[in-house]
Structures are given as structure tokens and as C-alpha cells.
Amino acid sequence: MMRLLILITSAFLAWGAVDAMAPQAAYADPIPAQQGGNPRARVNIVKKSPHLDRVESRDKGMALLFWLFAAMTVGGALFVVTRRNLIAAVMGMVGSFLGISAIYMMLYAHFLSVVQMLVYAGAIMVLFVFVVMILNRPEDEPVAPSGRAGQVIGGLAILYLVGRLVMLLWKVQPPDPIKALAAPVATPEGHEWGTVKAVGTDLFNGGLFPFEAISILLLVAVVGAIAIARPLHAGQDNEGDIPEGEGH
């Protein structure tokens, strides 16, 4: 299995190398260099020009990276569903979130990618590991028991749902391909698309009320979590394997 994976990866890489060596006239600079002018300004413009759009291109390396991170994401998620060991499930979840973060980066959502890594892989997963350590009970049976008929019907329903979703989503086309591709890259401001500045400007221009509501929600969640998780009676902590001081 591992050998097969390595073989596929090296084949992809070889293809990408051959592709990169071919002359590529199509990769034109989105911002035309100024005619004349001093060379320093020209260098400046070239340096500031946004990188090429790779999402809708035939770049083999990008395709390889997409499949790699997609496999990481789906594999981690499958790990969550199938593992009996809770720590293994959490680790699969971390891998899945890192893959999702890389996929966000491919979608030019740089800020969201970093937030995903910090909040999910950093904070929420640490919280999950804490709770798993507190619980410290291996699961007896990971999967709910069901009869043969239920399994068959469930499998068919899942296949039908997957098929319909894939058929629907595969046909999605950008509304105006030129405009959609032009938005992030082909304008002088294109390289700022999806950065902290752009997202912050959008957030505080249109989403100020949701932003404030989120702050209140987080406050309520913190207070609620402490109120729920604290022991009801004094001395309840001492009877079990829950460490003292938990939830205070």
C-alpha cells in the first residue's frame, strides 16, 4: 500500500517536471510592465504583481498538492469514524484540519487558513484531548449494532446521497469565468485578496453586528461551560478518577 502511494507520487512528480520544462507562453504577467521608465520601478512592479492563478489551471504540481491534501483530509476524517481509540480519533481529526487549512490556502483564503490552524488544530483539539484524558474510558463497541437489512438500506441511501451530491456539485460553473478569475489576481490589489486586511475591511463594513454578537456568544459560552461542568455537590470530585479542581 505504502509502495503504491510512493509510486503514484513519483509518477505525478515526474509528470510535473516534464510539464514544467515545456515552454509556457501562456503564463503571462497579469500586470504589463511599464514601457520605458527606470528599471527599478519595473522590478518593483514585477515584485508586487500577484502570483499566477493556479486553481483553474492545468498545473500538475498544484493538482498533486490538491490530491495530497484531499487525501489527508478525507483520511483523517475516516480515521475519526473508524478508530476505537479516542486519542487516535483526535489525532486523525488534527490531520484532517491541517489538510483543510492547506485547502483553504489553495482557495486564496490565507487569513482563514491560519485561523483554521490556530482555532481548530490548536485550541479545539487541545480541548478534545483534555476531555478524552479526563474520561479515560475505552469504548466498548464503537458502532451501533444494526441488522443486515438496516445495513443494506443505509448503504444504498448513502450511495444515492453521494451520487446526487457529486452530480450536482460537479456541474457547478463559475458565474462569469473571466470575472471570477480576475477578482483575486488580475487587478493591482489582487494579491491582497483574502488577507487579514481585506477580510477585516469586509468584516467591519458589513458584519459589525454579527461580530459583536459573536463576542457576546463567546462570553455566554465560557460562562455556560463553567456552569455546566462544575460539580454539583462538594466532595463529588473525590469519589471518582476526576482530578480535583476540574471545572472551577
Partner: protein, 106 residues
């Protein structure tokens, strides 16, 4: 076939999000541990976020990023409260098997 493999477009991202969402649904429906069910919910929220970002990219509109940011904040709040509930349930009955939480059934 080569087109699907090498020409990565928006459809790829959307189908990946759909697969992720379905795996999350599977975790919620099949597993009985409350922690794994919470993780399945997180997976579904992430799949929705990925769809939002893909469409945001497709339309060249940054509102999807704002929406995804708010979804992440709500997911963090949901995870903290959900885990607190799991800890409280575990305190009372020493396991977190959702099939055994039948006190409210009557």
C-alpha cells in the same frame, strides 16, 4: 480521466467538501460515543466552511470569508459547551454512550 486528475477546478473543492460532510454525518449516525459525535459535527461545520470559501472564490466576493470566520467562532463556542455537557454527563453516570442516555425517554 486526465482532465479530472490534473485540471483541478471548483468542482473538486465542492466535491471534497461534500465527502467531508458525509463522513461527518456518518460519524454522528454510526458512532455512539458522545465525543466522536461532537467531532462529526465539527467535520460538518468545516465542510460547510470549505463550500463557503469555494463559492467566495468563485464569485470574487469576500463575504464568504466573513461568514466562515463567524462560523469558526460559533463552532468554538459549540465545542466548549458540548464538551462541558459531556464532562457533566460523565460525572453522573461514568460513561458517555449516547445509547444509554435514556432517562428523558419517558
Amino acid at each position: 480521466m486526465g482532465n479530472i486528475l490534473f485540471n483541478v477546478g471548483y468542482g473538486h473543492f465542492l466535491v471534497l467538501a461534500a465527502v467531508l460532510f458525509l463522513i461527518g454525518v456518518g460519524a454522528v449516525l454510526v458512532r455512539r460515543n458522545a465525543l466522536i459525535i461532537l467531532m462529526g459535527v465539527e467535520l460538518m461545520l468545516n465542510a460547510a466552511n470549505m463550500t463557503l470559501l469555494t463559492f467566495s472564490r468563485m464569485w470574487g466576493d469576500l463575504s464568504g470569508h466573513t461568514f466562515a470566520l463567524i462560523v469558526i467562532a460559533v463552532a468554538a463556542a459549540e465545542a466548549s459547551v458540548g464538551l462541558a455537557i459531556v464532562v457533566a454527563v460523565f460525572r453522573g453516570r461514568r460513561n458517555v454512550d449516547v445509547d444509554k442516555l435514556t432517562t428523558l425517554r419517558h
